[in-house]
Amino acid sequence: VEREVEALWERYRDTGDADVRERLIINYAPLVKYVAGRVAVGMPANVEHADLVSYGIFGLMDAIEKFDLSKGFKFETYAVTRIRGAIIDELRSIDWVPRSVRAKARALEAAMQRLESDLRRTPTDEELADDLGWTLEELQETLTRVSMTSIAALDETLDVSGDRISLVDTLQDLTAALPEESFEDEETKHLLRETLTRLTEREQTVLGLYYFEGMTLSQIGDVLGVTESRICQIHTKAVLSLRTKLVD
């Protein structure tokens, strides 16, 4: 029964027929359901799920066009990457994070970088607010709005020494119980592990519990004994702190 879809690929490669292409799309369309469902995790509810799926379908069409059977990879693996990329690219272009929030996040990160190199440690919330000329409330509000619990939020951010690394995948690869075909190489993993040890104990704990132990923010808040709103802010700040150290 594997034969059927293989025959379809052969026909598509030989004829480029639109009808065959449509069959391939329908055959693999459920992959989009999987990817869109997972991209949506931790995202604000203002993003329409049907829109995510439609961006994903374009990604799938693209993958079908570009896939080279002779390369020996499984189509699904290639397709999942393209679908995910297509959804995230489209989200970025429609400003799913409002521009004003994005600008504040950038200002915040710049301040973090500056204070880090001056103080040789992670700046406190008060220090950051002072440096930015914001009230403490404004800072915490920004931390809340720049949610880092979604793949889309993390994916668009990391550019380490010329390589775009997916922070989420790398963080999870670090403690995988099974040997895996990692997206990132050993060097990146080592860099990440080493950078994590430079964070404060609380930052390490928040990131560790979220990415390594797979706990929810609500569980982590309970472990640390902080309120729900605070744990969201602490998590965002920890991710930003990790990022500023990585691109250093």
Binding site: V1, E2, E4, V5, L8, E22, R23, I26, N27, Y28, A29, P30, L31, V32, K33, Y34, V35, A36, G37, R38, V39, A40, V41, G42, A45, H49, A50, V53, S54, I57, K74, V80, R84, T149, I151, V168, D169, L171, Q172, T175, A177, R193, L196, T197, Q204, T205, G208, L209, Y210, Y211, F212, E213, G214, M215, T216, L217, S218, Q219, G221, C232
Partner: protein, 156 residues
């Protein structure tokens, strides 16, 4: 504590595989159901372009959505260890069955739907049991982190 982590990691690897195949299955099921609805709505197997409706057919209801606090870090890749599950799914209903939907009778569609629905319940049941196991192991770990018996340092 390491043993708890290892057991959780095993259960999680299994869950990742099951959830992936479950979503594929649900996608096939949603496509079939949409076709059946379209037939019974206007009574003619005239192909209204499936591609056009695909995004609404495949999307989840808003009810599925967990907010920031309930979200968990999730991997986005084709998981390991899916072969047993995908083989079983393809045996129940292969994806190629979706290709010629306009030509199928309503009875055939319904038969496909029934077969897939049964298998979907099976997979969802396995998944729920894995959740129970994983969540219990995680709660135990959380308790240990809270009282200091476990620390992130162990992992770094």
């Amino acid at each position: 504590t390491d043993e708890i982590r290892a057991r959780r990691a095993d259960a999680q690897a299994e869950e990742e595989a099951v959830s992936y195949v479950r979503r594929l299955l649900q996608g096939r099921l949603d496509i079939l159901r949409a076709e059946l609805i379209r037939r019974t709505d206007d009574g003619s197997p005239e192909a209204a372009d499936l591609l056009v409706r695909l995004s609404s057919v495949l999307s989840d209801g808003a009810a599925g959505h967990r907010d920031q606090l309930g979200a968990r870090a999730t991997r986005l890749r084709v998981p390991e260890g899916i072969d047993g599950y995908t083989e079983r799914l393809d045996a129940v209903l292969d994806a190629s069955a979706l290709e010629e939907l306009e030509g199928r009778t309503v009875e055939t569609l319904q038969a496909f739907i029934d077969r897939l629905t049964d298998h979907e319940h099976e997979l969802s049941e396995i998944r729920q049991q894995l959740f129970v196991r994983i969540d219990a192991l995680r709660s135990e770990l959380a308790a240990r982190y809270k009282d200091g018996r476990a620390a992130i340092g162990d992992l770094l």
